[in-house]
Structures are given as structure tokens and as C-alpha cells.
Symmetry: C2
Subunit: 294 residues, 2 copies
């Protein structure tokens, strides 16, 4: 498995592979890999000659500096998982490599080692809800870095986890609006045996928090059951609020019943094509998200 | 010369050419071609195996519906110029082909045949001046369509005219921020023998307007001379205002003395790397722009 830290080195490698007619699958990640990520690599390997995984904790998609500082960085362990999974190349650039070195003339504080992009993305109704509402600027950062990674890697196919449902919807729309000639594949969320969605942030949970963390997926399962048995969205929202009041360690940030593609709130089940139930909740210092789609 | 109206047909053609190892140069235009455009094709031919010209009057970059309606559409004449110039392929899509067909569920008025992008670009300080200030939303439309064309054509090099100086600055920044792996070439403005910058909009000038149109370039030349002989930017701005008062058929929209890359106003000549003098002026129903860089 090749490990690249520079854009130029990765590009030279990919150019040679392309000349041999190889197709390229791409899995963008922020590292701290778990089995969920490996399932994306597996999906890529099944459809492409070559699988590339990027590991980049993208500073411009964090609205909370503490969250950025706490985000686990485990490149060696990540590579030790990727190699046996059959990943062909890892791209692990620094922020300076991705965005260029900061220079005096751009008016940045000296604490920033990298050059912030000037261009800003606004995804309108797709980002004025849920994650976008609670993490202002998050999807601008996601859109910019994913575009940049797509342009650097130029894959045939790309693989995202459904756990970040809104991210998938935003990236899907971005690919339409900007004409990226890449197939987007959204892969199912992997769960621990007790139902907790796999997440890099799970490792920041204290033992007693980890023990009650499956309460989120239990809430989603309850909500789905209630909706399918004829309860209205308003009734289900009240039930979920009560469900989280039973576990006061949680602070529920949002629970939304939305159309899985437009991400807009569903008032009555008949309005939806595909329904997504989405939760964000704080547990100790950790913010967790999860969703189910049906 | 090949003429393509569909993205899929162009992509099939380009895929075959790429497999033969050919490099691709790309000239995006809105048609109504003149010698200035042909000089971009020439520049492309000198550096690439294959030259592609797109002709697309992009509705989302027009803030003024009358300007969009009046914009000349002359595909046959354009192709008759491009073929002898050695252009290899023309890409002339409809708005529906570029943006997709409008559908009932996206809330558009039925008068729009195409699907407007949801994603919006904001170039911050690069667009809050000059064209961006007087044509709100213009550079969003330019950024989206140029990104989309780049992703469709995937050229090695692209060629823009310096006449649209702010467009070049915006596209250059976009290419950095989104990591486009394409060389950008800005080519000198071509002028008629009396100094008028070549422009597709010139053909909308009435004869008497065409006769006085070179007043714009005379103003730029005067301004450059005054600045180089030691006059301050403030003095020169007063002189240019007076210069246009001599020709009351013009309505001067802006005259700016800016840094050619940051596009920010220069208060003193010592502050500038490269200086750009930029004018927009209305003459009858036509809005003309021009610039000189030194």
C-alpha cells in the first residue's frame, strides 16, 4: 500500500495507473478508521481496479475548535487497518498541502498555518436544517474539501457512509450542480452489536457513556415503529423527546423526520418519498449523530 | 470539426481522444465569436493536441433578463469561424442539457425550462467590487458553469480573455480553492483598429454609438499615462469622470484602479503589484467593459 502526503506524488502515481486503463474508487475519510470505513473500501474494491482512501481532518469543516482539537488522529493505526483491507493508496496531506501555506498578505492570524479558501459554498435548503443549522459553515467546508479531493484524485466512483446522511445529500447535489463525472455510492451504516452506529467519535466516550450510547438507535427504532404503525410525525416527536428525558445524560440536539433527498421536514407520512429519521445528541463531551431511512 | 449538443456524446469523443494520449485545451465562450475568441483557440492549438470550444449562453450568470434576451446567438456563424481556425470540437448544449429539465417538484415557475442549481458560490472580496457589485449573482453563475464545463471537458489547459479581468481573477481563485488540475492562461485583449476592445456586445451598438465607442479605451490610455507620470489615483479618477462628461452618450458605471490579482482598490501606486484600470460604461442599450494592466 502506497502512502502519499503530497498532491504531486499522488497525481504521478494515479497518472501511471490511469495509463494502464485502471478504474479508480475513492473513499474520503477523516481517519480514526473503524469497520464502517473498511466497508467503504470493500465496496470500492468490488467495483474498481484501484482503491484510494484519503485521511484528512479538514479544519474548515469544524465550526467548534474544541471538536477539531479533540478529533482523533491515528494515521499509523489507520494504515494498519487499510493495508490488509486491500486499499491500494492512502492520501494523507497536511492542511498546508491541501490549502497552501498562509502568507502575510492574506490577513490571516499567524496561528493559522494554512491559507483559508476565499470561495464559499451555500447549499440553501439542504444546509439550513439539522447538521447545517447546528454547525454553521460545516457544509461549506465539506463541499470545498470534497471538490478539491475529487479534482485531485479524479476517481470513477466514490463511496460515502449513510451515517452522514445530510453530507451524502449535500455531496450528491454538489455533484449534479458542478457536473462531477463520478458515481456516488452511499453505503449502509455499520453498527456495534448493541446498535450504536460506528463512529470515530465513539472512542471519546467514557465507559458509562458508551454503555448508554445505544439509546440513540433505540430511539430511532422506536420512532420508525411508531410511524409505521400510523402515529403522526408530531406524536412521534413527542415520544422521542420523552425517550431522551429517560436518560438525562443525553442532551438531544435535534430529532427530525425528513424526506431523505430534499431533507425537508415531513408533516404527514404520505408526503414523503423515502423517509429519514435523523438524530443528533450530546453525551458528555461527545456529539453523536445517527439516522434510519425507510 | 465535431459539433456536440449532448454531454454524453462529447464525453465519449473525449474519452477516445484521451486514450490516444492527446492533451486537451479548452476555450469556454458564450458564442457570438470574434477575433478575440479565435486568438484563444490559436493559443490552445499551440499548446495542445486537441482544442475544444464551448458555446453556451449561460442563463444563470445574467442578472438582467433583457441582457440575456439580447445576447447574440449565432451558432452557425460561430462554427463557420471555428472550423477554419482549427478548432477540433464544439460543445453547444442547451440550458436543459447543462442543468437538467425543470420538474414540478422543485418549485420553479413553468417559464423556466431548466433546473436551477441549488449550490451558490460566493467569492467574497473578489466579487464585491466592479462587475460583481453591479451584476449581483454574476460570478456565482460564472463559477458554477465554469466548474461544470471543467468537469465535463477535463482539459489540461484552459484559455480566457483578459478583457474579462475580474472573471479571470475569480476563476483563478476558484481553481486554487477547488483544486482543479488545469493550467489557466489569460490571453491579451484584442482591439479594433480604433482601440475598441473586441466584444460580442459590440454588434448591438448603433452606428453612431460604434463611432464614439473608442472613447472608453482612450480614457484607459489617458489614465495610464497620468498614473505613470505621477498623478495620484484620486486625481486620475477625477480626470476620467471629466473625460466621460465630454461624451454624454456614455453613462460611466465605474472606473477603478485596482491590484490586478486581489482586485482591491489602490490608494497609492506604491501599494500595487500589477495595476489594473477597469471601466464599465453604458452606451445606448449596450454595457461595455474594458481594462488595461501594467
Amino acid at each position: 500500500m502506497h502512502i502519499f502526503h503530497s498532491i504531486a506524488d499522488l497525481r504521478s502515481y494515479l497518472r501511471l495507473q490511469r495509463q494502464q486503463g485502471k478504474t479508480v474508487g475513492f473513499v474520503p475519510t477523516m481517519g480514526a478508521l473503524h469497520e464502517g470505513h473498511l466497508s467503504l473500501i470493500e465496496a470500492s474494491k468490488a467495483q474498481n481496479d484501484l482503491s484510494v482512501c484519503s485521511i484528512f481532518v479538514n479544519p474548515i469543516q469544524f465550526n467548534n475548535p474544541d471538536d477539531l482539537a479533540r478529533y482523533p488522529r491515528t494515521l499509523e493505526a489507520d494504515c494498519a487497518m487499510l493495508a490488509p483491507a486491500g486499499c491500494d493508496a492512502v492520501f494523507a496531506p497536511s492542511a498546508e498541502e491541501m490549502y497552501g501555506k498562509a502568507n502575510a498578505s492574506n490577513g490571516l492570524e499567524p496561528s493559522n498555518a494554512y491559507n483559508k479558501p476565499i470561495l464559499k459554498f451555500d447549499f440553501g435548503p439542504l444546509e439550513h436544517v439539522m447538521e447545517g443549522q447546528f454547525r454553521p459553515g460545516h457544509f461549506n467546508g465539506v463541499g470545498i474539501v470534497v471538490s478539491k479531493l475529487f479534482n485531485i484524485v479524479q476517481p470513477d466512483r466514490t463511496y460515502f457512509g449513510q451515517k452522514d446522511l445530510q453530507q451524502v445529500a449535500v455531496v450528491r447535489r454538489m455533484m449534479i450542480d458542478l457536473g462531477f463525472q463520478i458515481e456516488l455510492h452511499s453505503c449502509p451504516t455499520l453498527r456495534e452489536s448493541d446498535g450504536l452506529a460506528m463512529s470515530s467519535r465513539n472512542r471519546n466516550l467514557m465507559a458509562e457513556e458508551r454503555a448508554i450510547a445505544p439509546h440513540i438507535f433505540k430511539g430511532l427504532t422506536l420512532a420508525k415503529t411508531l410511524l409505521l404503525s400510523g402515529h403522526t410525525p408530531a406524536e412521534v416527536k413527542r415520544e422521542i423527546a420523552a425517550h431522551f428525558e429517560q436518560q438525562p445524560s443525553f442532551r438531544l440536539e435535534y430529532f427530525e423526520i425528513v424526506d431523505a433527498h430534499s431533507l425537508q421536514t415531513i408533516e404527514a407520512m404520505a408526503d414523503a418519498g423515502q423517509t429519514a429519521l435523523c438524530i443528533a445528541a450530546h453525551l458528555g463531551k461527545v456529539r453523536l449523530i445517527d439516522n434510519v431511512v425507510f
